[in-house]
């Protein structure tokens, strides 16, 4: 058993983890939350006894567990309570799960993103469960007058074998709730887990399949109004004026006004990304009526000047942000990127003497890869419910990051934080998009203006053209080979609009004596944000496609070639900042080799492999493609994953399957282009999404058996599939695919897509 301090371990753990994730950390005062003040009462029936912020136990032994993190489909609402239930040692059958609202005083890190929910929740949730269990044991010891260490628990039952005394948790809950919180508690041995590692179905499954209201867009209260928004038609434009009379008088229309998301003196934070700070809001009696009015609104737009503002960054720093003026085009993006590819970039890592090696190389291979902007396209468009009256606000909306919008809401509404309640809705998809929650501020400002509850809904066109996209990227890889085809040096130069995708200290850095990594970026007024595995979602595809081509040039099996490099990184690493574990990396390649029967390939099945490390997890994937009726068909995908302990295996496999489908879809079809600042695609008739017919026929997700603490899962299966697919398509068609999306090039090669 591991003993953990209920206070200090938690704090230090969170500090360390937050740095590793690259994300931000929320303030934490969990113990304060264990003694709720009357204002903090969650309004549950009196027969429930709260043992801590996460756990309530009823007199009958039923258990309510609060899932702290917002749910966007990664199933944390099931897996986080599984961790609590395991350490509480209760029976999963008797567990009810509820979504916690946003309570920074009670819960730490109510943030869904960066594949960090389970990783960073692991110790806090185990500690919360174990603490509640220890308090129940202490209550039983007191009631029965026996030593606590003689009491055992199992499936929600306390037992003292020597005296034959037995009670269910409910019988001790009222006493336990009055006891002191122990300073130290014991965690279970991993080998004793009964819930973790055993698949549990989605706790909201029944509600989802029967159409119950679960999403913010489903919310309705008495007297609620409906709102639509109109934003400028292009990046680089802003509102000049609008004619209120163009829509007033239309059926059901109550009001039309413009709103400004930010107050002038407000210092934006990293997640405040907003393309159009000033928009027009139309309020009425129904969604259809405000959407009709939207089409009729007469507004004038003008070119926006360059803007500069301060933005709060990580660790209390602030940075100056400049948003350039101008109406941008994809064609000019491409020509500017072509210039940057030729010019030197900023050196971000250099090992040995790469320039010298390239000079004496017998052969140099150079390849450039690129990918366009992508829209997240969550199935549930941006929307939010808000009820702002006087000095109080209730906001119910889809957000991955309530903490990062709370300050914005407070500033924009002029209402103190303590008077604003953010309730967390299940999200119809997130993928990073809902880490940026200006839609909540928009709804709140509309409600404040009309002093009535309102539900604001974006149309698909609003959603797709409002920015916060995955950036467009490019990466140029060069390899120096000697006359015997030995790899002498590797050079990567990567950049994008407006950020570089490079992770300079990741593989193959550390495996090569001579390595050079350079970065560049081009400013833009097209807003970007986190998109499932930011940066990795491009650079993995470029790197792993290049390694495939290199292996072929060196006449090596692509898996063996990677394993050789990883062996070098393990036994004699170059440099000290390599942020991956070569052994675990090799482990997933070996597992995928075995599970895909890599060495027994069938004729007519074209295989590609790829492996990548991100979000603290290791993934290798093999894609099998066949050509059927002149059409590339992805037959099978095999994935091997090392994400430490897997909480909920079937659900984890589901997440992996989804990430693979997502990657294949974006590799084939994902593309957003711009013409005079305006996105050229604004709905699913032109923005092609992967559909049932294009999904792989089979996906196998295999997890490495592990006793390591859990790491990321929502993102890591996504980045490697781009290259596994490209490498497989190369085998199928004899052509390499350097530019995403692949479908147009396949069609040029006379294949149907």
């Amino acid at each position: 058993m591991t003993k953990v301090n209920t206070k200090l371990d938690r704090r230090s753990f969170l500090r360390v983890s937050a740095l590793a994730s690259g994300g931000m950390m929320l303030s934490f005062s969990w113990l304060a939350g264990c003694k709720p003040t009357p204002e903090e009462e969650l309004g549950l029936p009196k027969e429930w006894f709260e043992l801590n912020s996460y756990i309530k136990i009823g007199e009958n032994g039923a258990v309510t567990l609060y899932s702290p993190n917002p749910e966007f489909g990664s199933n944390v609402k099931t897996s986080m309570p599984m961790i609590l239930a395991e350490e509480l040692d209760t029976d999963w059958k008797n567990v009810w799960v509820e979504q916690a609202d946003f309570y920074p005083e009670r819960f730490d890190r109510q943030f869904t993103g960066g594949s960090q929910g389970i990783r960073q929740g692991w110790t806090p949730l185990r500690t919360a469960g174990a603490t509640a269990r220890a308090m129940l044991v202490a209550a039983a010891a007191q009631s029965w007058n026996v030593p606590a260490n003689e009491i055992t628990t199992s499936a929600g039952i306390l037992e003292h074998k020597a005296s034959g005394k037995k009670a269910h948790y409910g019988e001790m809950a009222s006493l336990a709730a009055t006891l002191e919180i122990p300073e130290e508690v014991e965690l279970k041995d991993i080998s004793d887990f009964k819930i973790i590692g055993h698949s549990k179905r989605n706790v909201d499954g029944q509600k989802i399949v029967s159409g119950k209201p679960l999403f913010a867009i489903d919310h309705k209260v008495e007297g609620m109004k409906y709102a639509a928004i109109v934003h400028p038609p292009a990046f680089g434009m802003r509102l000049k004026s609008f004619d209120k009379n163009s829509v007033m008088g239309m059926p059901g229309i109550q009001d039309v006004f413009s709103i400004n998301v930010f107050k002038d003196d407000y210092v934006q934070n990293f997640f405040d990304t907003t393309t159009f700070p000033e928009i027009v809001a139309i309020v009425g009696n129904s969604t259809w009526e405000v959407m009709q009015a939207k089409k009729n609104l007469v507004a004038e737009w003008e070119k926006a000047p360059e803007t500069k503002f301060k933005m709060a960054g990580f660790g209390g720093n602030s940075m100056d942000v400049t948003v350039p003026s101008g109406l941008e085009n994809t064609s000019s993006h491409k020509s500017r990127m072509a210039e940057f590819i030729k010019n030197p970039g900023t050196v971000v890592r250099k090992d040995g003497d790469p320039e010298g090696m390239f000079k004496k190389a017998a052969k140099v291979i150079e390849r450039t890869y690129s990918a366009p902007f992508l829209a997240h396209n969550t199935m549930e468009p941006m929307n939010c419910f808000a009820d702002v009256k006087g000095n109080k606000a209730v906001i119910y909306g889809p957000t991955q990051a309530p903490e990062f919008i709370m300050g914005t809401l407070s500033s924009s509404l002029g209402i103190p934080r303590e008077n604003i309640q953010i309730n967390l809705a299940r999200m119809g998809g997130g993928f990073g998009r809902r880490a940026y929650s200006h839609h909540m501020v928009e709804a709140a400002l509309i409600s404040q203006k009309i002093q009535a509850p309102v539900k604001m809904v974006y149309t698909r066109e609003d959603d797709l053209s409002a920015g916060v996209y995955r950036p467009t990227y490019s990466a140029t890889y060069r390899a120096a080979l000697d006359e015997n085809n030995n790899l002498l040096a590797l050079h990567v130069k990567a950049g994008g609009i407006p950020e570089s995708p490079l992770h300079a200290n990741r593989f193959p850095a550390g495996a090569l004596d001579h390595y050079l990594a350079e970065s560049w970026d081009i400013p833009s007024n097209i807003t970007i944000g986190a998109f499932r595995a930011p940066r990795s979602n491009f650079i993995a595809g470029a790197e792993q496609s290049f390694l495939d081509e290199l292996a072929e040039e060196m006449e090596k099996d692509p898996i063996d070639f990677r394993l050789e490099l990883l062996k070098r990184a393990e036994t004699d690493p170059v440099g000290t900042n390599n942020d991956y574990d070569p052994k675990r990396y090799a482990g997933v390649l070996q597992l995928v080799k075995e599970k895909s029967n890599w060495n027994q390939a069938q004729s007519n099945v074209h295989r590609g492999v790829s492996a990548y490390f991100c979000h603290n997890s290791y993934v290798a994937e093999v894609v099998d493609t066949v050509i059927k009726d002149n059409k590339p068909v992805v037959e099978s995908v095999y994935a091997a994953v090392d994400c430490g302990i897997v909480i909920n295996p079937d659900s984890a496999a589901n997440m992996g399957e989804g990430a693979i489908v997502d990657g294949i879809g974006n590799a084939f079809f994902g593309e957003l282009a711009f013409n005079n600042g305006a996105p050229t695609k604004t709905n699913f008739d032109t923005y092609r999404m992967i559909r049932q017919k294009e999904a792989p026929k089979k996906i196998e997700v295999h997890f490495v058996e592990s006793t390591e603490n859990p790491t990321g899962l929502g993102e890591p299966l996504f980045p490697p599939v781009f290259a596994a697919l490209a490498n497989s398509l190369y085998k199928a068609t004899g052509k390499r695919y350097y530019e995403q999306p692949f479908a147009p090039q396949l069609e040029m090669g006379n294949l149907r897509m």
């Binding site: 989605n202 499954g205 009526e289 199935m379 549930e380 998809g429 489908v661 559909r691 049932q692």
Partner: protein, 152 residues
């Protein structure tokens, strides 16, 4: 504005709306049947799928005026207790991730199986191709349709 008598999930419901209002918004805003979802508004994603006289249709492009006299079934009315074989199969395969598109997927699948109780893989793919799942649960959807076919 005009009055319409609609037969929804076996009950007659009266609404007073503009005749051009799509059935989707009548269901969601006026009748509080929010299981039917808004995804694209142009019949491209299938999130708003309902049954009109037993056939799967996109309610976002269906004016309320065209639905009078028809039998309308929404996800809420597919079964009394959420236990239609398709819903059960969805649970068995733990299909949903975010869950937003799944009502539309289930309605399309239920209509398919009504018309073709033993669809081939290709027939399932064709029937389900109009329903986008952004989370990529397509394989589980297909497996659940097959399981439901065996139970029906």
């Amino acid at each position: 504005m005009a009055q319409f008598n609609l037969n929804i999930n076996g009950k007659t419901q009266q609404v007073d709306v503009d005749p051009s209002t799509p059935l989707l918004w009548v269901l969601r805003d006026h009748l509080d049947l929010v299981g039917t979802k808004f995804g694209c508004g142009i019949a491209q994603c299938g999130a708003c799928t309902i049954h009109l006289n037993g056939t799967a249709v996109r309610s976002c492009q269906l004016p309320v005026s065209a639905t009078e006299g028809a039998q309308i079934t929404t996800i809420e009315g597919l079964s009394e207790n959420g236990d239609h074989p398709v819903q059960q199969a969805w649970m068995e395969h733990d299909v949903p991730q975010c869950g937003y598109c799944q009502a539309g997927q289930i309605m399309t699948a239920a209509a398919l199986l009504q018309q073709n109780p033993n669809p081939s893989d290709e027939e399932i793919e064709n029937a389900m191709n109009g329903n986008i799942c952004r989370c990529g649960t397509y394989l589980r959807i297909k497996a659940a349709v097959k399981t439901a076919a065996q139970k029906l």
